[in-house]
């Protein structure tokens, strides 16, 4: 199954810009389904980006992050071809990881 | 205080004829009329969602034995269905007035 993480990492000069879109319902636990029962909270809690063995970005998310969450940031110290490891874990113990090459 | 007595009687009188609670037969007749009008509107492919919900409300009330409300809901459904028929007929020509020329 295709990974839930889409990433675009492009390096220009010493700055690498990273954009990520993750397929995840990010349910708040406040929404009721058609039968009126609350859909339990199910959201990504932590999202980590590692490059060259170092954390370059760590996101702690709550229920107010949109469905199919998106985040963009940039960091220095990497170059084209380096590997960027992205991993997330959610409140139900679900997780996903991919490794992408910086373009 | 003296005036209110005749007033109260007057009110009671005016309600007297309608006081008889609607029974199942009244509901069946009213519902049939409403359903016929609704089917005609559907035939013209111009049904309204509120007609359908009024019909459902009528059925629900009748199931609960509340035939007064069931008749009222049926009458409302019929009126809505008829209005959608009027709309369909008038729009056969009326749409041209809005057309960008």
């Amino acid at each position: 199954m295709a990974s839930s993480i889409r990433v675009r990492a492009t390096a220009n000069g010493d700055i690498t810009e990273v954009q990520t879109l993750i397929q995840h319902p990010m349910d708040t636990g406040l929404v009721k389904d058609a039968k009126g029962e609350a859909i339990p909270a199910h959201f990504i809690q932590q999202l980590k980006f590692e490059c060259n063995g170092k954390d370059v970005f760590v996101a702690d998310w709550g229920t107010a992050v949109s469905k199919d969450p998106y985040v963009k940031f940039s960091f220095k110290g990497a170059k084209k071809g380096d590997e960027l490891k992205i991993s997330w874990t959610d409140n139900k113990g679900g997780s996903d990881t991919i490794t992408a090459k910086i373009a | 205080m003296k005036l209110s007595l005749p007033l109260a009687m007057l009110l009671a009188l005016s309600f007297a004829p309608a006081a008889r609670a609607a029974n199942e037969a009244d509901y069946k007749a009213a519902y049939a009329a409403a359903e016929a009008a609704s089917k005609e509107a559907a035939g013209m492919r111009n049904q309204w969602t509120v007609t359908i919900s009024a019909l459902a409300a009528a059925r629900k009330a009748a199931d609960g034995g509340d035939f007064d409300r069931a008749v009222a809901a049926s009458k409302e459904a019929e009126a809505l269905a008829k209005a959608s028929i009027v709309q369909a007929n008038s729009e056969k020509e009326a749409w041209k007035a809005m057309e960008i020329r």
Binding site: D14, G53, K54, V56, F57, V65, S66, F73 | -
Partner: protein, 163 residues
């Protein structure tokens, strides 16, 4: 750069120390003191996300209050097209930024997202948040051990929390 396996807190701190030394080699970064402990730990700030009120959440996360700063450019729409997907971004021109967090005042829980900015990562983030209704969005920035804030009201016509 040492590439040790097995992620656990102590490894992180060693790495950070090693990283800042390595980056020194690049010559474009002043030698930074070890980043403030408050936001560097790995643990997911469970408590802060549970608090309803913004001030409590900020205190739980950073342990002190913030002062407004015009060095934080908070970019958010005037009227959100949809409360469920509100594009919010921030660019900070303070240096030695170690953490950035977003708060939506009248959401069921004020703290929406909190980001840790290690050495070498630029203090600029874009993300999409949910907003229950028209309220203030606040960005809190921890830089060099001090706390700064910027706030903007975003009008929301259709609440994003559903339900």
């Amino acid at each position: 750069m040492t590439t040790t396996t097995g992620p656990h807190p102590t490894r992180r701190l060693i790495l950070q120390g090693a990283a800042s030394v390595a980056l020194l080699g690049l010559g474009n970064l002043p030698f930074a003191a070890a980043p403030a402990l408050a936001a560097a730990n790995d643990k997911y700030p469970e408590e802060a996300f549970k608090l309803k009120n913004e001030a409590d959440a900020i205190k739980a996360l950073y342990g002190r209050t913030a002062e407004p700063s015009d060095k934080i450019k908070l970019d958010a729409p005037e009227i959100a097209e949809n409360g469920g997907v509100v594009p919010i971004s921030v660019t900070v021109t303070l240096d030695k930024v170690t953490s950035i967090s977003f708060f939506v005042a009248e959401n069921p829980n004020a703290l929406a997202a909190s980001y840790r900015i290690p050495e070498g990562t630029l203090p600029a983030i874009a993300n999409r948040l949910k907003m229950a209704k028209t309220t203030n969005v606040t960005a809190i920035v921890e830089a060099d051990g001090k706390l700064y804030s910027a706030t903007k009201e975003v009008k929301v016509t259709v609440g994003g929390c559903g339900g």
